[in-house]
Amino acid sequence: MNAQFKKGVLELCVLVLLDRKDCYGYEMVDEISKNISISEGTIYPLLKRLRKDKMVISYLKESQDGPPRKYYQITDVGKEKKEGLVAEWDEFSTGVNDLVHEKLMNNLGDITDE
């Protein structure tokens, strides 16, 4: 998939997941890679940037099995950003879908005409 595209999508996915509940890094990677193939390591620099841009905050929380984990929580700024990205994504994906399906129908039309 196009590189530029994927990067924006990764940010969108992270914010959407965090809007549902606080997560630790691995959890998000796990969830995202179920759906799309990503280079898993890239999520940590992304999280760092989101934290710097005040879209998420992080805190340590004990876990039953092992040392404490670093959890991330979305902020109001992050929620606002997420809303914007989701709206952009919806508009974009609907546009592409319309185009793809319209083209498909035209192709079918051509075939039936012959």
Binding site: A3, F5, K6, G8, S37, I38, S39, K48, R49
Partner: protein
């Protein structure tokens, strides 16, 4: 690559970052390995999925330099950020480093020109005035003779100085603007690179 090898490699590649910054980053990846192992994946599988440490380190370094450039505005830091971004690949060498160097060169030339105009103006004014006061000395420069000529020379000198100062003022403004623009461009650029599919 197993966990220790991966972490070691990353550590080595990030050796230029400040200690706490590096420790913070490494701890993220150590946690990632630990949880992955708990979930039953092998160290090799996790390394593979994380992606090439070289690419990762480049991305981390570029992000770090960019953040530094944002926090502390200086020509050096934005240049470092551009260089780090350029390290991400030949695409960036062409699309980041070359325009950055060109811009810096143009700005530098204009700054020198502005400075020369200011000093040149002051010089012409001074010499003309001095010649008016001490006509017996030869200042080894073609200046203006006679009262009218001297007046013209002084006005020319002052005008040149003011023009030079105006140019410098505009340049400072333009440079600040370009600085902001450069940061935005680098950020966009990073986003493009980061999205690269794992190989």
């Amino acid at each position: 690559m197993n966990k220790d090898e991966y972490i070691e490699e990353l550590n080595k590649l990030l050796k230029k970052l400040p200690k706490e910054e590096k420790a913070d980053i490494i701890s993220d990846y150590e946690e990632h390995f630990m949880i992955g192992i708990e979930k039953g994946r092998t160290e090799e599988e996790i390394s593979e999925a994380l992606g090439n440490p070289k690419n990762l380190a480049k991305q981390i370094k570029a992000e770090y330099m960019l953040r530094k450039a944002e926090d502390k505005q200086s020509a050096g830091s934005v240049f470092e950020a551009a260089l780090a971004a350029a390290g991400l690949g030949i695409f960036n060498l062409i699309f980041v480093a070359v325009p950055a160097m060109l811009l810096v060169a143009i700005l530098l030339t204009l700054f020198v020109l502005g400075g020369a105009m200011v000093f040149g103006g002051i010089y012409v004014t001074l010499v003309t005035v001095l010649k008016l006061i001490l006509p017996q000395y030869n200042f080894y420069i073609t200046t203006y003779n006679g009262v009218l000529g001297s007046l013209g020379g002084i006005l020319y000198g002052i005008g040149l100085t003011i023009l030079g100062l105006a140019l410098l003022a505009v340049l400072v403004y333009v440079t600040k603007w370009i600085y902001g623009l450069a940061l935005r461009y680098l950020k966009w650029n990073l986003r493009v690179i980061e999205g690269k599919k794992r190989s």
